[in-house]
Symmetry: C2
Subunit: 193 residues, 2 copies
DNA sequence: CCGGCATCGATACGATCGTATCGAAACAAG
DNA sequence: CTTGTTTCGATACGATCGTATCGATGCCGG
């Protein structure tokens, strides 16, 4: 058996390049040539890793989703007491250092509306997040008449909307954070009864 | 003075075509040729209406924003009693017949993150909506410690997030509507005190 | 050492894009 | 009718895209 290559590693490296470019130009704006240049490989190498551009984008968005859920899980394990607040805080991607990820996420969400395979991938991520939040809300609630699923959906949508508004420059990150914290506080209040 | 043409009307007709196509393929996916074909004019005619593609897209998104704010205003005038609930209901674009507009809006928002002129246009629309909602919340509130601006921001973000989740198929329109109504009900409750 | 195969990267190809160009057509003014 | 100006739509152009192709390269088993 002749030459052997670690394709998995290269796929990840390429996915990073995709993210960098998608952050700058949107996912429609990334070309195979640019990706190859950014990842410091030849175009042929990219083609051998992914059968098509679509496959490449799909892998990249999955990569981002994975990192996000990992980070949320890590936060949960580290500080179970403030689980809800911290979880939604991470999901909202408001912190400066995750601005790039937020941009990529939004870009792919917008594309997903028009490209079904992408939508499937993203729905999985959202379903996982909704389940997680639902569980956290249910745990925080005693046994009141609250509907944890509905609260989780509201939280997720609110976080997503705030992130979007920050990205467009309609809100500052601080303002969004305040709105989010207020909502979470109100939710805890409601759950306590 | 020889031949004269109503450019304003044609710009609108072309904008409609842009919306139809952007709804199907995303705004990156619309080409001048397709737009011209859809609007039943020649490519040259489109070029004479808009100096560039960017100018065309900008006009189109402005067109959509105009229609949206018009509709919200109409609702307000028609039924001032349930102003808040109806207003946010319209903004969320959850009703089936406005699904296309919602898709276009999301697509442009995603692009705006990467194209500053578009972002400016959209920020204007959002600022107008936020002001409107702030006013409605302030009117609904007596004189409690509530922060109308913050509540308006939460409402707007929640509506936007829910719309996005419906478009991706993560939530049904009904589920989103329920979440939204619950939130508005909670807000009214809070404002009453 | 060598023949064979996996991998390489450069290049070719065809399509599509936004935009520029230009002669023909259409209409008002003289 | 002729002239002058505006609008027309077809076509040309150059760039860029995703993808296919292919000879060179380098490693491994024998």
């Amino acid at each position: 058996m002749p030459k052997q290559v670690d394709y998995e590693d290269r796929r990840r490296r390429i996915a990073e390049a995709v993210c960098l470019l998608a952050d700058e130009l949107g996912p429609e704006g990334v070309s195979m040539r640019d990706v190859a240049a950014r990842a410091q490989v030849s175009v042929g190498a990219v083609q051998r890793c992914f059968r098509s551009k679509e496959e490449m984008l799909l892998f990249a968005v999955g990569h981002v989703g994975e990192r996000l859920t990992e980070r949320v899980s890590a936060r949960l394990a580290a500080d179970p007491a403030h689980a809800l607040g911290h979880a939604i805080d991470e999901i909202a991607l408001l912190r400066e250092e995750h601005r790039a990820e937020a941009r990529i996420w939004l870009a792919f969400v917008a594309q997903a509306v028009v490209r079904e395979p992408l939508a499937r991938t993203l729905r999985n991520s959202y379903a996982a997040l909704e389940d997680l939040l639902t569980r956290l809300v249910a745990e925080a609630a005693g046994n009141g008449p609250a509907d944890p699923r509905a609260e989780a959906r509201a939280l997720l949508a609110l976080a997503d909307g705030l992130t979007t508004h920050v990205l467009m420059g309609h809100l500052t990150a601080q303002a969004a954070e305040d709105v989010l914290n207020t909502h979470v506080a109100g939710l805890r209040e409601r759950l306590r009864t």
